[in-house]
Subunit: 188 residues, 6 copies
C-alpha cells in the first residue's frame, strides 16, 4: 500500500507565510473546501509558489487549447501515471469545464473509447507520448498535430501541460496525496 | 479510436431465442435498463448462454469472498486491461455492494491508494498477477494468500473471477462495447 | 516453480455429477485418455459446464475460419501467455487438423517464422493484439482483416477464440495444469 | 530524428522582459556562456520564472543531500528518460561538484556500476522508482531510505528533485533542446 | 513475416575453404544431415571459424554443468528471444542429452512448469536475467547460485553460454535461419 | 550494486599461454595500457581466442560500413544494454574514428538527438531492433536499409556487429568489467 497522506503532515494554516495562507483562504472561499494539493505543497513554501505559478501560467491563460482540452490532457496522462489525486480532482474540473459528466471516466480508463474529435485524439496521443516516451519523439509526431490545425504555441502547450503533470503526478504519488471527497461527485 | 459499438450491431429483441429474450426482459424489469453487455452477446446465442452461466457460477454463488470483494477484483483487473465497459458497469455494482461511493474510482486508478484491508490488498495483488503475468505465478504467491486466511476454494475464486474478466474485457474491447450512461452515476 | 497440479486435486470420477462423468467417459473412449483439463475443471461442475459449452460454441461450429486456423490462434496466443497445457495439447490438435507436423512448434516459438498465408499472418497478428493489448485496438486493425477477406463474423471468431483462451490460459496457469504426456508426440 | 532546437526559435535577448534578460546576462558573465535551457524557456517568460524558481528552491538550498548528490539524481533519472540536454549539462555540473571526472558517465550508463556508498545507491534506486513507476511506491521504499539515515525532508528532496526533472526532461525532449558544446568537456 | 533463409543464400560447398568444407562434411557423416547453422555461417568463413570455436569451447568441454544443463540454458533463453532455429535444433539435442522427450517443449514454453531440481531452476533464472536484463545483475543474483552449490567457474559458464546464444539467436533471426526438419522429431 | 571486477580475478600475465600474452603485450605497447576486456577474457584462453577472432573479423575488415559507423552501432546498442565497459571504451574509439568529440555521448544517451545522416539513422534503428527485439524483424526492416543504399553484405555487418556486442555486453555485465580510466577522456 502507498504511504498515507499523513506521512508528510501538512502545516497549520497559522504557521504559513502570509501570501500562501491568503491564497489558500481565497480558494476555500471560492470552492467551499481546500483541495489537498494546496496543503501538501504548503509544507514547502518556495516550492508551493513555483508550482502554482507554473500551473496558472499554463492552465489559466488564453491558449489555442480550450481549458477543457487542457484538463483532458491532465486526466489522460495522470491516469497513465496511476495518480489518484490528479485523476479525481482534475476529472471533476474536466466534467465542469467540458459540461460532460462522462468524459473524465472515459479518458481515465481508455481515451480510445471516448467520443473525441480527431483533433482531440491527436492531442491526447501526442500528450501520452510526451508523458510516457518523450525520448522517442520524432518529427512525424509534430506533423500529426500540425495536420490537425495545431500551431507551435499549441504544441508547446500540449507538451508543457503534460510535463507539468509529470511533475505533479510524481509529487502526489510521493506524498500519498488523497483527493478530497468532494471531487469524486463534482460535475456528475 | 476504437471501433464504435455499432460495428457489431446488436440483434432485435424479437429475433432472439425465447430464453435469451426472457432473460433480457427480466433484467430490464429489475434494473430499469438493459446493460449493453447483454445485447452485445445476444448476437451469438450459444456464447451468450455460456458466458452468463459462467458469470453467475462465479459472481452469484456463496463464496469465501464477499460479492463486493469479487467486484473489487473485476474493477481492478478491468482497469489494468483498459476495458471501459467493465470498469464503469462493475464500478457501479461495486459502489452499491460495498456501500462505498469512492472505492471504484480508487481501484480503477491505483489500487495501492485505496483504503483496503491487508487481506484485500493481497487478494488484488494476486488477481493482478493472474491478469497480467499468469505465467509467472509461483508457490510464494499462493502462500501470501494463505497467510491472509484464504483457503484453496477462495484462491480458485480469485483466479477464476480474474480469468473470466480476462475474457470479458477482451470481448468488450473487441466489440467496442460502451457502458450504459446509467452506470456512470449509480451508487455515488 | 509453478504450483503442482496436485494443489487443486481433481475429484474422483465417481463423485462427479452424471452429465460430467458421462462427458469425460465419452472423451476417454474416443481419445484413449482423459485430457487433464477435463479433470481440473470437474472440480467445479458449474464452471465445467460453462467452459466446455463456450469452447464447443467457438471451436466445433462451422465458421469462416477452418478448425486448423482456430487452433493456430490458440497455440499462438497461449504461447504468448506461457501456458504449457494449451501450447502442448492444442499443438497436438493443430498438427492433426493442419496435417502438418511442424506448424505447432513454429507458432509456439515465433509465428513470424512459420510458413503462413498472408491471410493467416493477419489473423494471428490481430489475435495477438486482442490477447496482449486489447485496449489498443483501433479501426485500422479491423481494416487489415477486411483487406484479407475476413468478414465481421470471422473477426468476432478470431477475437472470441482469443478471449476464451485468455481465460483458459489463466485457469491452466492458476491450477498448475500439466498436459498429458500423450499430447507431446501426437501428430508428429 | 528528434526535431531540431530551431523548431521553437529562442527569442532575441533584447525582446525579453528586463528580469529575465538580467538573469541571463548574469549567468553568461559567471559561466562564460548561456546554457541553452535559459534561452529555450525564455520564449515563455511566466514559465521561465516558475521553472527557475522551482529549480533554485530545490537545487540551491541547504539540504540533507549534498549538491553533488542532487546532481547524481538528475543525471541518473535524466538518462532513464533519454534526455540529452540534462545528461550532458548536469553531468558537467556533477563532475565539478563531486570533483570526480568519471561519475557522470557511470551514472548515465548504469548506476549499478558506479562506485557509490550504500546510502547513495538507495537514494538512486528510490529516485528511479519515482521517475519511472511512481504509482508503485509502497511503504517499504521509504523504509529503505530511512534505514540509510535519510529523514522525511531528505525523502521529499529526493522525490522532488526527481519530479522536477521529470518535467525538465520532457520539456527538453519536446523542444529538441541541445546541450551547449562547453558542457561535454567541463570537469573532465 | 520474417525474411526467408534464401535472403542470404548459403555458398556452394565446393566454394568453401578446405577446413570449413571438411568440418561440414564430417558433421554430415556423423549426423546424416548438415544443420543449417553451418551453411548460414559458411557465407563468412572468418565468422564461421570464430563462432564454432566459441561454441565448442563452451558446449563441448568438461564443466561443472552437464551437457544437458548447458542445453537447458540454450533452449530456455532462445525461447525468450523467439529464435526458432535454436529452440528446435537445441531442443532436439537437449532431448537426447537429458534422455527426456518432454523437457525441451516444457522449457521452451515456460521453464516454471518443468520438473527441475532447485539447482536447475536457479541456473535458468540466472540465465534468463543475463539474457534479458544483464544490466540489472547484482550481487544477490550470484549468491543465489552459490547457495545452490555453483562455483565461480560454473557461474561464468552459465553466463557465457547465455551470452553466446544471445549472439546466436540474433544471427538466426537476422538471417531467417530455419531449423532442418530432422530436428523437430529427434529424441521424442 | 553490480559485482566488482575482482569477482573473476584476471590471471597473471606470466600464467598465460604464449599467444595470448604476446597479443596483450602488443596492445599495451600500441595503446600505452591494456584494456580490461583483454584481461577479463584471458581467464579463459579458448574463449579469448574465439572472441577476438570474431571481433577482428567484423571490426577490422573492409566493409561497406566505415569503422566509425561500426563503432556507432557498438555504442548505441551497448547503451541500450546498460554496458558501462562497452559504452566508455568504444565511445573513446568512436570519438577518435569519427573525429567528433561529441558523438559518443549523444549516441549513448539518445541516438535520435545526434546529428546523423538519414543512412546512419536507418542503420542504428535496425541495429537497435536486432539488439532488443530480433524476433520481430520483418521484411520491411530490410527494405528500409536497402532504400538507404545498404546491400546485403552491409546488412549482415550491421546485424553481426550488433549480435557480437549482444554477447560482449552480457560478458561485461556478468564479470563486472570496468573500463580503464584512460577511455573516459580519450578523443575529447
Amino acid at each position: 500500500m502507498s504511504i498515507p497522506s499523513s506521512y508528510f503532515p501538512p502545516p497549520e494554516l497559522t504557521d504559513l507565510p502570509e501570501d500562501i495562507r491568503e491564497q489558500i483562504l481565497a480558494i476555500q472561499e471560492k470552492s467551499g473546501f481546500v483541495p489537498n494539493v494546496f496543503l501538501a505543497f504548503a509544507r514547502r513554501p518556495a516550492e508551493f509558489r513555483a508550482f502554482f505559478a507554473y500551473h496558472d501560467a499554463l492552465m489559466e491563460k488564453d491558449s489555442g487549447l480550450s481549458k477543457a482540452e487542457r484538463e483532458m490532457i491532465v486526466v489522460t496522462t495522470s491516469a497513465a501515471n496511476g495518480c489518484l489525486y490528479c485523476v479525481i480532482a482534475h476529472g471533476a474540473i474536466l466534467r465542469i469545464r467540458a459540461k460532460d459528466p462522462l468524459i473524465a471516466d472515459q479518458l481515465a480508463t481508455n481515451y480510445r473509447k471516448a467520443d473525441l474529435t480527431p483533433r482531440q485524439q491527436a492531442m491526447l496521443e501526442f500528450a501520452l507520448k510526451v508523458s510516457q516516451n518523450s525520448d522517442e519523439l520524432v518529427a512525424a509526431d509534430y506533423e500529426a498535430l500540425t495536420a490537425q490545425g495545431f500551431d507551435k504555441e499549441d504544441i508547446w502547450d500540449i507538451g508543457a501541460v503534460t510535463a507539468l503533470f509529470a511533475l505533479s503526478n510524481r509529487m502526489a504519488n510521493l506524498t500519498g496525496m488523497q483527493p478530497n471527497e468532494e471531487f469524486y461527485s463534482l460535475g456528475r
